[in-house]
Structures are given as structure tokens and as C-alpha cells.
């Protein structure tokens, strides 16, 4: 039944990716049930259609045969049976949905912030990262909000999705079946970088998550400033818009940036020194390089001073030719 793609166990099939969470199996079961019902009814209708078109095709000298223009028992039957089936599908869907929507009490909570166009995760100890690492042996609950427009958090392998709305919190939960990396998409259109607003869920084997968290939280203490700065560059969303190799992006490239002269929107020219970099991180709309749009979100309250220092050290390490930009 390759076309129907029905698979036992967890292997990805024709229709669905491999089920990777405890919640996915029940969703898949319903999906395949609806698929089966659909195939049956479709085959019935199209089959009858083809049968009638062939069997009762127009023949010279022959008109239609006598037949009733309605048949109450038949019409009631073919109304009631589909009604019963769809009500059944509704009830099943509702039940599975309530399980998907209700996080267990012992779930491990991570805060998620969406912004154009990156995802940031804040762990209970305050560490912020751009990849969602989770323990593999317990349920995980995400508490999400957006900085700007509506986004949506979608992990196909877990069959979970929830809009992430500015001005309020929304939640979703899952429990992974096994360690691995799973794709995350933004699924509410949010502008230029919508299709690049990807992320990952990294499910750790039991016991290893805590160690990862500890290491990740101590970046600044364990790494030289420029390297720590590079980690921050990748994990805090800078990389979404600013390249480090001179490539054009939504924001100016960091290569050769520090210390160079830049023409600004509004006509003035200034040197992009440490103060300017710091100002751009905390008040990005204040002074913008010519040729770029005022779309950078502020990091005030989200980057500590020593993190800003590390970032600047990292940027300084990206030497390049002056003026090489857009």
C-alpha cells in the first residue's frame, strides 16, 4: 500500500515524516483513518462516475432510461452515514487535540522568543541560545512570545504547531521519542526572511542535557572574548542578517566593519567604532548605514555588557578591506 503510505512503527512514509514524539502517533493514526475513508469515498464516487459515463453514454436513437428523480430512503442513507462518519472524525480529532494542547505538569519549560527572523530560547537558568536543546526523557513545554509580528512554531516530526503572537504568551509541549535533531520552521508569514527563519530541536540522551546546559551557560568564562563573541553572534540571531564573510544581507556585513568609515542614511559619514557598534546594538534605529532598512530589533535588556564586549571583540577579528559592504 505504498501510495497510501501507511507505515507501522515510526518510519517516515509517503505522506508523513517519521513520528518522533509521543504525541505524533495518535495524530498519524487519525490521519491515516481519514485517508482511508477519503480513498473509499473517492473511489466510490469516481468509480460510479466512470461506470455511468461508459454504461449510459449517448447512443444514436436511444434516449435516457426511466428512473426516479429522487429516492428518499437512499438520500437519507447517504446523508446519515457520512454524517456519522464525520462526527466520529470530529470526536477523535478533538480528543487527540486536547492531549496535544495539555502539557503535563512535570514538563521542562523553555521560553521562546520569536522575532524577524530568528528564534531565541531562554533556559531556566537564564542562558540564551538559538538552538532548542531539550532533555530526551521528559516532556518539554515551550512558552512563547513574539517581539514584533505573528510567527508560528512548527516541528513536523513532533506534529506540533502554535502561533507565536506579540503581546501575549502561547504554549506547546512535546515529549521526544528518541535523541536526534529535528527541523523547526516558522509557519506564519512574517516578511522577507520568513523562509529562512529555521531552527532545530536537539534532543539529548538521558543525562546529557544538563551537561550541555552547564557548558553552554559558561561561554564567557571558558572562551576567549572573540570566540565567545562568535558563539553569541550565532546564537543571538545576529547571523540571520549580518554575514561575517562580506556577503550581502539584510544588515551590513561584519567583515571589516569595525573602524571603517560608513555613509549613513541622512547623508552624514561616521566611523563605525566601538561606541557606534554598542549604540547599534542597544538603539538600532538611531543611526543607520545608507542602503539598509531600519528593521533591526533592539537588544537592550537582552545582552549583558560583557556579552556586548565579546561581540565587539569578535567583530574586530573579522578583518577585511575597508568599504567592502553591500
Amino acid at each position: 500500500m505504498g501510495f497510501l503510505g501507511i507505515q507501522g512503527g515510526g518510519g517516515g512514509g509517503f505522506w508523513l515524516p517519521r513520528a518522533a514524539s509521543t504525541g505524533a502517533g495518535p495524530v498519524d493514526a487519525l490521519f491515516y483513518f481519514i485517508l482511508a475513508i477519503s480513498v473509499v469515498f473517492f473511489a466510490l464516487i469516481v468509480g460510479l462516475m466512470i461506470l455511468f459515463v461508459v454504461r449510459y453514454r449517448r447512443r444514436a436513437g436511444q434516449g435516457p432510461l426511466a428512473s426516479p428523480a429522487h429516492n428518499t430512503p437512499l438520500e437519507i442513507t447517504w446523508s446519515v452515514i457520512p454524517l456519522a462518519i464525520v462526527i466520529g472524525i470530529f470526536a477523535w480529532g478533538f480528543k487527540v487535540f486536547m492531549d496535544l494542547a495539555t502539557a503535563p505538569a512535570n514538563a521542562y519549560e523553555v521560553q521562546v522568543t520569536a522575532q524577524k527572523w530568528s528564534w531565541l530560547y531562554t533556559y531556566p537558568n537564564g542562558h540564551v541560545d538559538d538552538v532548542l536543546h531539550v532533555p530526551g526523557d521528559r516532556p518539554v513545554k515551550l512558552v512563547m512570545t513574539s517581539e514584533d509580528v505573528i510567527h508560528s512554531y512548527f516541528v513536523p516530526a513532533f506534529r506540533v504547531k502554535r502561533d507565536v503572537v506579540p503581546g501575549r504568551y502561547s504554549t506547546l509541549w512535546f515529549e521526544a521519542l528518541e535523541p536526534g535533531e529535528y527541523q523547526v520552521y516558522c509557519t506564519e508569514y512574517c516578511g522577507t526572511g520568513h523562509s529562512d527563519m529555521l531552527s532545530k530541536v536537539v534532543v539529548h540522551p538521558p543525562g546529557e542535557f544538563e551537561k550541555w546546559l552547564e557548558d553552554a551557560s559558561n561561554l564567557l568564562n571558558t572562551l576567549p572574548p572573540a570566540e565567545a563573541g562568535e558563539r553569541l553572534y550565532r546564537s543571538r540571531g545576529c547571523i540571520q542578517c549580518h554575514s561575517m564573510d562580506g556577503a550581502a544581507g539584510i544588515g551590513p556585513t561584519f567583515r571589516g566593519l569595525v573602524g571603517s568609515q560608513r555613509p549613513m542614511r541622512g547623508g552624514a559619514t561616521l566611523v563605525a567604532d566601538e561606541n557606534y557598534i554598542r549604540e547599534s546594538i542597544l538603539e538600532p534605529q538611531a543611526r543607520i548605514v545608507a542602503g539598509f532598512e531600519p528593521v533591526m530589533p533592539t537588544y537592550k535588556g537582552r545582552l549583558k555588557d560583557e556579552e556586548i564586549t565579546a561581540l565587539i571583540a569578535f567583530m574586530k577579528s573579522l578583518k577585511g578591506e575597508k568599504g567592502e559592504d553591500q
Binding site: Q111, V112, T113, L120, T122, T145, S146, E147, P166, G167, R168, Y169, E283, P284, Q285, A286, T298, K300, G301, R302
Partner: protein, 266 residues
């Protein structure tokens, strides 16, 4: 009764595609009622927004409506009710062929419309002066801010007016928080709810859309008046007066709902 009788009708008002004047009149009436239904649904969206926000934030409505002048609103309500009376009377005059009365009554209705708009202008002007405007333009100073509160570092967001205690700060700037108070502790001491500008967004949308409809109604009535003055209406043909009257009554009716919902909140 033929639908396609080719010969001319004597009635100059009968359109060629209608079999008789009665059908034409009924069709016009049905059409106008349907149009009124669409207007009710147009306003319905706003009433729905009102209901949602009032249910979720009753404190905003209770606080903000005190800035509306009940007396002026009450006068406007009376003005519109009287104008509906003159309008209904005008339709009756048209039906009876009393042309002079028709002209006078239509004039009175239009004049009352002007009175309504005049009072609305006075109200709007007051709101403008006090800064009681929707959204970003809300700059009303509720009370002097407490001396102890030190102003925060200038926030780059365009929403906050500097030093204004009633203006909300922009929404979440980090995963931990939603819109945070402009000045911590301000609300408790002075009981000014957050987001008061939402009330004025709704107030101006509803009364503004209503005023646009009043103006449209008045323009229509002026056109009807012109035709009435030329003696076009009488017992045999008064449909436009009737239909315009229906529209005017709806405009009145909508205000009769707006007034208590906006002005008379307890």
C-alpha cells in the same frame, strides 16, 4: 400577467423591465432593506470590537467614558430622534401629496442633521485639545506624575511620549515580559488604567463611521429635497422619499445604540 408585454405603459415612472408599478415599488423596498442589513453588519464589526474589549478590559471603559459629555450626547440623541420624526412625517406628506409640507419637513430633517454634526464637532474639538485621541496620538495627561519616579533611559520606540504617565510602553522587548508599565507603581496610585487609548480608538471609529453615514444621508436628503421642490413626488410616486427615510431611520437607530454604549457606562 405578462412579463414581456411590448406596449408602452402610461406611468412615466415605471421601468420597462418591471411588469407593474407595484412590483417595482416592492422591489425597491426590498432592495433598501437588504442594503440596511449590510449597514448593520458593517457597524456590527465595530460593535463586536467594542464588546470584546469591554469584556476584557472593563476598567478602560469605565475610566475613559467620563471624558465624554453626556449632556451633549443626550442632546444629539434627541436631535436625531426628532429628525426621524420629521422624516417619517415627510414621507407621509409625500404620500398625501402635500408638497409644501414635504419640502419643509425635509429641510427640517437636514437642518437637524447639521445640528447633530455641529455638536459632534464641538465634542471632537474638545477631545483633540485634551489629547484624548486613539492609539499613538493619545497624549492626555491624567495627573502629575509622582516626583519620586526617575524617567527611564530614552526608549527608541516611537510610541511613548516623553514623561507621559498615561502612555503605555511598547510591547515585549525580551522573552520575559509583555508590555510593561511606563512608570512602575503609577497605576496603583492614580488608578489610570493602561491602554486608555483603546477606548478612543473605538469611540472615534464608531462615531466617525456614524458621522460619515449621517453626512451621506444628508446629501441624499438634499437631493431628494431638490426633487421634491420640483414637484416630482406625490401619491402615485414617493418611493425615493420612502427609501431615503428608511436609511435615515437606520442612521438614527445606530446612534441610539452608540449613545448608551459609549456615554452611559457605569
Amino acid at each position: 400577467m405578462s412579463q414581456t408585454t411590448p406596449h408602452a405603459h402610461h406611468d412615466p415612472h415605471l421601468a420597462h423591465h418591471f411588469p407593474d408599478a407595484g412590483t417595482q415599488f416592492e422591489a425597491g423596498k426590498l432592495g433598501m432593506w437588504i442594503f440596511l442589513a449590510t449597514e448593520i453588519l458593517l457597524f456590527g464589526g465595530l460593535f463586536c470590537a467594542y464588546a470584546v474589549y469591554r469584556a476584557n478590559h472593563p476598567e478602560i471603559f469605565i475610566y475613559a467614558h467620563q471624558f465624554l459629555d453626556k449632556v451633549l450626547g443626550g442632546i444629539n440623541t434627541a436631535v436625531l430622534i426628532v429628525s426621524s420624526l420629521t422624516m417619517a412625517w415627510a414621507v407621509r406628506a409625500a404620500q398625501l401629496g402635500h408638497q409644501r409640507a414635504l419640502v419643509r419637513l425635509l429641510t427640517a430633517t437636514i437642518a437637524l442633521g447639521f445640528v447633530f454634526l455641529g455638536i459632534k464637532y464641538v465634542e471632537y474639538e474638545h477631545k483633540w485639545k485634551e489629547g484624548l485621541l486613539p492609539g499613538k496620538r493619545f497624549t492626555h495627561q491624567a495627573a502629575p506624575p509622582p516626583a519620586a519616579a526617575a524617567p527611564a533611559a530614552p526608549d527608541p520606540a516611537p510610541v511613548a511620549a516623553a514623561g507621559d504617565s498615561s502612555v503605555i510602553a511598547p510591547a515585549a522587548r525580551g522573552p520575559a515580559g509583555l508590555a510593561s508599565p511606563a512608570v512602575p507603581g503609577q497605576e496603583e496610585t492614580h488608578k489610570v488604567p493602561r491602554n486608555v487609548q483603546i477606548f478612543f480608538g473605538i469611540y472615534f471609529s464608531m462615531t466617525g463611521l456614524h458621522a460619515i453615514h449621517v453626512i451621506a444621508g444628508m446629501i441624499t436628503l438634499m437631493w431628494i429635497l431638490r426633487r421634491a421642490a420640483r414637484g416630482e413626488f406625490g401619491p402615485r410616486y414617493f418611493t425615493p422619499v420612502d427609501l431615503a427615510g428608511l436609511y435615515w431611520h437606520l442612521v438614527d437607530l445606530i446612534w441610539i445604540y452608540l449613545f448608551p454604549l459609549l456615554y452611559l457606562i457605569h
